[in-house]
């Protein structure tokens, strides 16, 4: 085969593969993604039955245990708003009152949000934080 024709075919195949990968990435990102809300956003924009990533800090003094369920409140980092969460599953070591956390939640029967099992992540101690923000 003509070498230049060969090069065009190779380039076309490579571009097609790249396009396919990019399309799949964009599709998966938008369809499999979960909206990330703070406590105040969750209260104002959250809809029943939908799952959201709730990010904020664990309200000091709010952590309790009920059997294997962990009950705590997540506070909005900027506003004085907190939402109660009931969570079961793996609790990472750094979890504690005052620590920044993220958990996937959906609206429960009452005012408490139900945390998705094993979805709790906490701020890692190796993260450097500006003194003003801590």
């Amino acid at each position: 085969m003509d070498p230049s024709r060969k090069r065009v075919i190779r380039l076309s195949v490579a571009l097609a593969a790249a396009l396919l990968l990019a399309t799949a990435l964009v599709y998966v990102s938008f369809t499999a993604g979960t909206k990330e809300f703070t406590a105040s956003q969750l209260l104002s924009q959250g809809r029943p039955g939908q799952t959201y990533e709730l990010a904020g800090t664990v309200l000091l003094g709010s952590v309790r245990h009920d059997g294997t369920s962990l009950l705590f409140k997540i506070r909005d980092p900027k506003l004085d708003v907190a939402v109660p969460v009931s969570y079961t599953g793996i609790v990472p070591d750094p979890f504690a009152g005052g620590r920044a956390v993220m958990v996937a939640v959906r609206e429960g029967a009452g005012t408490t949000y139900i945390g998705q099992q094993n979805s709790l992540t906490t701020k890692c101690p190796s993260k450097y934080q500006a003194a003003a923000a801590s």
Partner: protein
Amino acid sequence: MAIVGRALLILALVVALYGIGASLFGARSGRREWVDSGRRAVYALAGLATLAFAILEAAFLRSDFTFNVVAEHSSTTTPTFYKLAAAWSSQEGSLLLWVFLLSVWSSLILFLTRRRVREIAPYATAVLLGFGAFFTSLAVFFANPFATSAQAPAEGAGLDPLLLHPSMMIHPPMLYSGYTLLTIPFAFAVGALVTGRLGAEWIAVTRRFALAAWLFLGIGILLGARWSYTELGWGGYWAWDPVENAALMPWLCITAFVHSIMIQEKRGMLKVWNASLVLGSGTLSILGTFLVRSGILNSIHAFGASTLGVPFVSLIGAMVIGSIFLIVWRREQLRSEAQLESLWSREAVFLFQNLVLVAMVLVVFWITFFPLISQALTGTKVSVGPPAFQPFVVPLALILVLLSGIGPIIAWRRVTVANLRRGFALPIVVGLVTLIVLLVVPGGPSSRPFALAMFALGAFVLAGVAQEVWRGVSARRATTHDAVPLALLGLISRNRRRYGGYTVHAGLAVLLIGVAASSSFKHSTDVLLSPGQTARVDGYTVRYVRPVEAITSQKISFGAVLNVSKGGHHVTNVTTTRNYYPSQDPSDGLIGKFFDSANSDSAVGLDAGPLRDIWTVINVQTTPLDSLINQGNNVFAAYAPQVMTRAAKLPPGQAQQAMNGLWSERDLAVAEIARRFVTHPWQTEFLLLVDPMVTWIWLGALIIAGGGFIALWPIPVLARRRTRAAKPARPPASPAVPVREPA
């Protein structure tokens, strides 16, 4: 000493700025003395950064709490080993570590190349000093490690208990060494592009540093994974967290580079690609450093705001724009000297492997930054969790393993039928046999196609590497008549780059087999148990035998002895504990400070084996102790001030005695309360995992590191001279006896 430290940093900044000017002026005017002066500025920067870092370490060792970073990250009870490591647990100390490592590595490369690459070196020096000036200015203006308080606290806050892990001493310096070493090929690539000297020379002088960056960054990543597995109490080693990804991306990029430079060295091809990979790796290393500090992405690591965003984004922007400009400007000189002759050649395999690695970088980058991208596009942050990585990374990893098996076997330029038969027959047979055995064996992994494919491909790679090594040993024995171990040693020591690379490929196969097994066949259960009760996980019976507690000057430990059996046969006993370190939070009270869960960590009960790990962790709730703790707090809240007031009126010796008495009584009360965990045990939560072949991951990591060191180690000078003399103009298509390669 703080003022000396700060003065050293300011002087370091001045020296770096001077060095940039001297190097550029020397390069433009052709005056050698200015170029030399610029290089000496790098040595001076290294000296100043070393002194500044030594002052900071000395402050940690002395527990000098007038230094704010020492007061916030260490205490008198912090073990000496961890006092040293605490220096880089802070933002300020870690930036100083960055400057220190950057200046040391920069000095090393510039010393080694002081009589080589004379046109490129001044520009590389300026770029390296530019990085030095950037990070020094961050330490001077934004995050001063030598900030002090007029009133030093009597005791420091201590190091976060989760950082009390041996990895802490090695993991950050390894990562930072990797990041800083990546700036060296970046700087020389910029120098080569600016001067238009785009031959293989700049690659030859920086190749070893690129390899060292790859090695150190890889070790850092794997130590982080090990720390996560044994310390964080969640039972995993990789969470696709933004900060983990930030280290993975430059590692993947530089992995592609250390392969593709071989094609440029041998065939003069892929020059644009190589320059892009080096510039990309350098930029990603700064991005990785930034991500840990920015708080721009919510994740396990990255929370909180930082004042460093604007400077970092500016630097990254300048690096990206500058890199694109230089490559476009020099595109004519970057044209390949040869064409790819066949898709069935080692060059093509390296190229495919490069494409897979870069595709992985793009996938990881896109998903990691998707919350920011979605916010920019839709106004709402959308998180894409770990499951989004799997559909892309798993198939790409399978292709990568396949290519890492083909690469060492296939011939350069064009494969022949004879080469195919000779090289591929055994590995393919081994891979197929593995696949068939795993498919037919009862209870095998046939239900998990990706894991099954990884096992078969891993066997293919291991067989291929073993075959190549055996052929090399046989060829050597034919000429030297050495015993097999001696012949193997001789073979590796004279072909370190090649056999180091083969070892890395074997290690990668072992590691990914472990990852495939542990991620596909892990079993876990989360249970509440009282002493004597049992739980079942993956056919194992775990019995909570008895609670245990221990008190030392540093922590209170509540734990459990667990008996593990299978089919009525004893397997092992493991002990898992929850350690409580004294908190510095006054609201906890004099007794409660010893039971603060915010200041606790887990010690995993682990029975590791070649086929499975039994991993257990206890999650103690101290709620049953709350009433006693509150009672104790109340008693001591009333009693302690009385003793302190009385002591204040006594001579120092008696005052100390009175205070010692108070602390002894408090310690007795704490011990009495803690003992109730054993005397009045309550139902406790356990996370129990049976995780197959995790040991293979650590073993694979060790093999990879070993291979990296072999490839990095310089070959003896004599052998190098012989190699240069004997090196053919073009490599043979399929060497029967491995040729010696220059290091």
